[in-house]
Symmetry: C2
Subunit: 226 residues, 2 copies
Amino acid sequence: MQNSKTKDYFNPGVTVDVAIFTIEDGSLKILLIKRANEPFKNKLALPGGFIHEDETAHDTALRVLADKAGVAGVYIEQLYTFDAPNRDPRGQIMSVTYFALVPREKINIEEGRQTEQPKFIDVEKIAALSFDHSEILAYARKRLQDKIQYTNVIYSLLPKLFTLSQLQSTYEIILDKKIDKRNFRKKFLQLGLLEATEKKFSEGRQRPAVLYRFKKTGFAELKKFF
Amino acid sequence: MQNSKTKDYFNPGVTVDVAIFTIEDGSLKILLIKRANEPFKNKLALPGGFIHEDETAHDTALRVLADKAGVAGVYIEQLYTFDAPNRDPRGQIMSVTYFALVPREKINIEEGRQTEQPKFIDVEKIAALSFDHSEILAYARKRLQDKIQYTNVIYSLLPKLFTLSQLQSTYEIILDKKIDKRNFRKKFLQLGLLEATEKKFSEGRQRPAVLYRFKKTGFAELKKFF
DNA sequence: GTCATTTAGTGTTCTAAATACACTATATAA
DNA sequence: TTATATAGTGTATTTAGAACACTAAATGAC
């Protein structure tokens, strides 16, 4: 492959790394792969890849999502571009990072088929990662925490129909704090984003919960509300 | 110049563009240059430059600040990485963008010495810019508006000593709205960031104003407060 | 079939923050 | 001395956030 638009300037390498979040079993999880090659062979890392010719960083992120998580059409947003010296032992390589939010059931990891064995891992249980990926993960978590407080992005972590308890639990997991049930419901319903459906959800010996859906998906900016 | 760490991957070009804001004559202004070369020769653009070898994007931004605005030690922050196809007619070149906040009196533009004639221009009076720089400017203004509402970055646009009226005016200019004087003072003083000095500022036939300073400079995150 | 258990669902009171609003103080220039 | 320009100050009202406990509806166990 050859750069047809070469200048006589220095061009750093450019990769894209993606923090793919989901909620599973009451935890916030992120997709990690086991690196198949050096550097950091067999170590955990964020899924990513080099930008190809005629591909935007966003395109690359979508490609990574499709290849490593088997999903498309999910919420994705550029985070930050990391380029600390020596972040990559191969040389001057910057990483344009993205984060993606995916409801667990949309994800299709073909177990075993991929050498890199992509897996969702509880963010609280992650030790060291390859490169500066721990830093990227910390940055992504902070962005996620901030963003669910002044936007409606939470919809992108939930199934189409969900209960208010599920919604509240999602907030609690990400913000890592308990929220008062009555205050949560009052405030969230007041935002006018939800509509109740006729359906109910029941599981086990308990009162069934009304299922809600977002009136419209698509991104919206709100006032800060927690 | 030669990339000593070459891989057999495609490397896009990488530039850094910087939105340098200041307040002057009651307006929010940004530093623009007149491009000396093609493409967009003689058109207005954000100051910027290619990343050099062994230089981080942040370093590049500092270099641009020093070269084009003659300042160092100012507030600077990475904004976003723009890489839309065809944003640069020379080919696939991404721009890692930064914004900087500078008190007007710190800036040292050597008039006429530079072929690019860097000038501060009122953001309200800017028509089209080169490349996708209008988009970058819009993004930077939004970030600035948001950021002064939940951080103390406003300090980086003010001189060491300033009056509460100057401070309020800076907020009003950036947010493009009037703020009630009593409420503003009450709220801002309550934050505990300022200390009054013995000095007073007078200009013209009017009561002199107490000069304040920030107790500590350096970035801090606050609650959203307007 | 009743009772124990589990989660769903609901209002009010109190506190804190945001907003709306108008006059006096102190300097200079005319 | 007086007109003018900006500095500086307090209260009342409204709105939003926080704290708090019981009833409702289903199932599983016995």
